[in-house]
Symmetry: C2
């Protein structure tokens, strides 16, 4: 079995916004996808260790800010390799609160959506959250950043808590 095949799956790059009351957080995720069109629902897979996991359950909602291709690597790093438990990731960020109470990140975002949690599925280390889209807006005509572009062109890396993490000894 060659798990490098999994690296050929295509994804985008997103900031998942969440809240627990007035406490806000954002984390990078690549595993967002649309599930149904009637009504419009989306799913995201989040590691149980992440603060975002707690906040989505407490706030019963999440936002998806879709990053454009030109997003600088340090901007992504600020959301992707630190926990909101250790640092205030919202500091110095340009965001506004959406109708679900989740932050919508405005820098480098080409479109966003907000979803109210309707279901979740325990899949071991991660939970798949399914949400009904209640708000969505296109902000720019920019091309989206794909996960492949992030790896191949930007030379970005993947944290251990990501669904798509591949240990080096397995060929990653």
């Amino acid at each position: 079995m060659d798990l490098k095949a999994l690296q050929k799956l295509s994804y985008g790059m997103y900031i998942i916004g969440s809240h627990d009351g007035e406490k806000l957080n954002g984390q990078i995720a690549n595993t967002v996808f649309q599930i149904t069109s009637e009504p419009p629902t989306v799913a995201v897979s989040i590691n149980k260790q992440n603060l975002t996991h707690d906040y989505i359950l407490k706030g019963q909602a999440f936002s998806v800010s879709m990053l454009c291709q030109a997003t600088p690597l340090p901007f992504i790093g600020g959301f992707g390799f630190k926990s909101g438990r250790d640092v205030d990731k919202m500091k110095d960020q340009n965001y506004r609160l959406g109708e679900t109470g989740c932050p919508i990140f405005l820098d480098n975002t080409t479109a966003y959506l907000e979803a109210e949690l309707i279901q979740h599925l325990d899949v071991g280390t991660h939970t798949i959250f399914v949400g009904k889209v209640v708000a969505a807006e296109v902000l720019t005509t920019d091309v989206c950043m794909t996960y492949d572009y992030y790896h191949q062109v930007k030379r970005g890396t993947t944290p251990k808590t990501a669904p798509s993490y591949l240990a080096k000894d397995k060929g990653g």
Copy 2:
């Protein structure tokens, strides 16, 4: 709410292989994503109307053949806009049976995986199937086709049963 924002989510293009005993089928899907890395699991969202939906439940497995960017549009059309109930989609296809009994499609495929069904979640018109990866192989170094490339460059269209279908009167 501008549902065009949902079109900014990034996906690949895949053939989902499934079986019910010796009966085989393949359908196009764009919503495949990795869920966990320990163990490696993947999810796919399939419309309940599709024959593939029945076959995944009966065969308790599915395969994902990942299409390369150069895949011709008629090849995709042969899997994407017809039901395996009406036509034999396997006719004239170049495939082999994987260890799960699902067909692995060999033309235009850059990598594939096979997964044993471990969970599924009812999400209205669709079901999210979660499978444990039991086989995977990289076949070529070709770039993968993204859903965006399929739409923008290949001028491909989306059938009504797809999760990402957007009715014209909603801005699609």
